[in-house]
């Protein structure tokens, strides 16, 4: 049993911390799972309206964001490997690239949403009111799901800023990187959810 029993006098338990993070990620997946379920059912019931709604989205911006987010997931992974090998400088620069990617993603999102608001394609807007009910559902789910995802991008970026601070303070090091790994796991979750959101919203016609 020694492998599964932590040493009690030491307060640090990296394995436990990581386990807690994975459990938390499960809950996040289930949170989005409820939305994916609702999306699936309404798409099944109203395939045409949903397809029409999908056409309205800006495929170019969506694709750019996908590339940006996937790249940022890689940079986070690189930064973890770097800190494990003691390369603090590389780790920090990779994390800053990740933050930059998060910024690019959110700015793109801002323009994408901003454009829709301009043409009245939002709950309460003029164009929105003319749409058939099922297409309104599509856009509500679009705003709800990508909005919740965007919130996660912001939270993830804040987490990474904390990681950067702790690396600068010398707390996160080559032999103490549980928080760094956990923040990385969270960032991968943000990525993973987008990988499903992107085709569901932008690609399926």
């Amino acid at each position: 049993m020694s492998a599964t029993t932590a040493i009690h006098d030491e307060h640090r338990d990296d394995f436990g911390a990581k386990m807690g993070m994975w459990l938390f990620l499960f809950t996040e997946l289930l949170l989005f799972g409820g939305l994916f379920l609702v999306y699936t059912i309404y798409r099944f019931l109203n395939p045409e309206d949903f397809a029409h709604g999908g056409h309205e989205l800006n495929l170019f911006v969506g694709t750019v964001n996908t590339v940006v987010l996937l790249t940022s997931s890689m940079t986070v992974a690189v930064s973890i490997s770097a800190i494990q090998k003691g390369n603090k400088k590389l780790a920090l620069s990779m994390l800053w690239v990740t933050i930059a990617a998060a910024l690019v993603f959110m700015v793109n999102k801002y323009f994408e949403w901003g454009h829709k608001f301009e043409i009245g394609l939002y709950p309460g807007g003029d164009l929105f009111a003319t749409l058939p009910p099922a297409e309104r559902l599509f856009f509500l789910l679009y705003y709800f799901m990508t909005g919740l995802h965007g919130l996660h991008v912001i939270i993830g970026a804040i987490l990474i800023l904390f990681v950067i601070r702790e690396i600068n303070k010398g707390i996160i090091q080559h032999d103490n990187f549980a928080f760094h790994e956990n923040a990385g796991l969270y960032w991968h979750l943000v990525d993973l959810i987008w990988i499903y959101l992107f085709p569901l919203m932008y690609l399926i016609h």
């Binding site: 049993m1 029993t5 386990m19 109203n46 709950p123």
Partner: protein, 534 residues
């Protein structure tokens, strides 16, 4: 470890860093357990008073003490408070927090700060829920299930109540997450999975349900908020939504949630029975696995809440069969507890009385649950007082009584003093008689067709309601007397030794109340917690 900690190690956790601010910023699992206990008790009392008022209103047909709309608000708030503020966090947040780290021989939970955060979330959620009484356009009147489309359309304060449930859900998730990691990582050396006390097993199973079911209700409730604030038809059929989808999503969480409510209580029963029967628990592994089985099968039975909502025939039959399957692990537990009592050297004292009442009442509640799980009979008794009686037998007669049993059982450990046995026994009998007088007639009224949640009823149900309301008075008197006795005992009771019951589990192998770090030396476990040899 710093020297200051070492020097205070032998003191009771009450004496080190006293004062209100130090309590509400403490990450000690014992203090957080007590913070939960005091806050939960307040809300429970509010819920009880609302329940007594409802019963008073139903004493006679027509108006007695309140208007119909007030009644709708009160039964909704009674449900929200009792479900989200008392029975879901009750046993795990109070006794799970206080006892679980002790019982597995740990100094604290894995994430003490997250533990404190979960209490803050609980308090914020509770204040949201209670604020619906004061602010806005009236108390929510949807029932605790917030069924759409009514919850989307009603002018009352549903948004606040729904947000409250959302926040409380997060509190519950964090507690579950903490317990899973704690049980995996912090068991005392030598405590293998099958030497772990059954209370910890039941919390473990519960924690998985909290973790995997709660996010679904969280997002569903957010959708209700979005629908109310943005005016879009996610669930409103007039705008293209599907109200049945809301019911599915709601019960995907809320059915597993009834196992969040009852499993920890079953863990309490499994702790108390062997101690006062002086016997090894019968079928340890069967009880441990039945907790996991209940948690697992419990995910797949939500449809039985919707037999009359218009699901397809095959779906209803499958949900009905699965519902019957859940009864098996529950039955396994009941048989094992009774087999433990068999030829035991039984001490009848207040904790044991509450636990025996649990078995009696939970069996009535469980068996009537099968009446509701069977398709044909459910269609007859659906949405009648039969459901109300069943639910209260399981939740109050089961979990509620186990909560009181746990309170009396761990009282010496928590407050360091013994409970006055005689007064506690009198209070118990009042509550037992009152409870059964209150809820048993409702089974018959429901069978006869009295619909639930109605403000008024037909004259032929009058007698049942008179008996029931009188029962609520007896129960309330017993409840007040129990509180009085516990308060008295906490102040003037006889000082308790570390292990007044000669129990074998680890929480009794330290001082009462425990020292700051629980154990002077982390115990090494060599045999199971129920190896009674006398």
């Amino acid at each position: 470890m710093s020297e200051s900690i070492t020097s205070v190690q032998h003191q009771s956790f009450y004496n080190v860093r006293p004062g209100f601010i130090n309590w509400i910023t403490s990450t000690d699992h014992k203090r957080i357990g007590l913070l939960y206990f005091y806050s939960i008790s307040i809300f429970f009392f509010v819920g009880v008073v609302l329940g007594v008022l409802m019963r008073l209103e139903l004493l006679n047909p027509g108006k007695d003490i309140m208007e119909a709309q007030t009644y709708n608000g009160i039964f909704t708030l009674h449900g929200v408070i009792m479900i989200f503020l008392f029975i879901i966090p009750g046993v795990p947040a109070v006794f799970g927090n206080f006892v679980m780290p002790l019982i597995i021989g740990a100094k604290d939970v894995s994430f003490p700060r997250i533990n404190l955060l979960s209490w803050y979330l609980y308090v914020i959620g509770a204040l949201f829920a209670l604020s619906t009484l004061v602010f806005g356009d009236g108390i929510p009147d949807t029932g605790w299930t917030f069924y759409a489309p009514y919850s989307v359309k009603t002018g009352t304060n549903v948004t606040l109540a729904v947000l409250a449930a959302f926040i409380l859900g997060f509190s519950s998730i964090l507690t579950g997450l903490n317990f899973i990691v704690t049980i995996h990582r912090l068991r005392a050396p030598g405590m293998t999975w099958f030497k772990m006390p059954l209370f910890a097993w039941s919390l473990y199973a519960t924690a998985w349900i909290q973790l995997l079911a709660t996010p679904v209700i969280g997002i569903t409730l957010l959708m209700i908020v979005a629908e109310r604030t943005l005016g879009i038809g996610l669930f409103d059929p007039a705008l293209g939504g599907d109200p049945i989808l809301y019911q599915h999503l709601f019960w995907i969480y809320s059915h597993p949630a009834v196992y969040i409510m009852v499993l920890p209580a079953m863990g309490v029963v499994s702790e108390i029975i062997p101690v006062f029967s002086r016997r090894r628990i019968y079928g340890y592994k069967a009880i441990a696995f039945s907790s996991l089985a209940i948690a697992f099968v419990g995910y797949f039975v939500w449809g039985h809440h919707m037999f009359t909502s218009g699901m397809s025939g095959p779906a209803r039959i499958i949900f009905s069969i699965l519902t019957f399957l859940v009864a098996i692990p529950s039955g396994v537990k009941i048989f094992n507890w009774v087999a433990t009592l068999y030829k035991g050297s039984i001490t009848i004292n207040p904790p044991m009385l509450y636990i025996l009442a649990f078995i009696f009442q939970f069996m009535i509640g469980g068996l009537t649950g099968l009446v509701l799980g069977a398709l044909a009979t459910d269609v007859h008794v659906h949405d009648t007082y039969f459901v109300v009686a069943h639910f209260h037998y399981v939740m109050f007669g089961g979990t509620g009584f186990a909560f009181f049993g746990a309170l009396h059982y761990w009282f010496p450990k928590i407050w360091g003093r013994m409970v006055n046995q005689k007064k506690a026994t009198i209070a118990f009998y009042f509550m037992f008689v009152g409870f059964n007088t209150l809820y048993f007639p409702l089974f018959i009224a429901g069978m006869a067709g009295m619909p639930r949640r109605y403000y008024d009823y037909l004259p032929q149900f009058h007698n049942y309601n008179i008996i029931s309301t009188v029962g609520s008075w007896i129960l309330f008197v017993g409840f007040l007397f129990m509180i009085y006795n516990l308060l008295q005992s906490a102040r003037n009771g006889e000082k308790a030794s570390g292990n007044p019951y000669r129990a074998l589990s680890l929480e009794w192998q330290t001082d009462s109340p425990p020292t700051v770090e629980n154990f002077d030396k982390i115990p090494v476990v060599t045999e199971g917690p129920y190896e009674y040899k006398d």
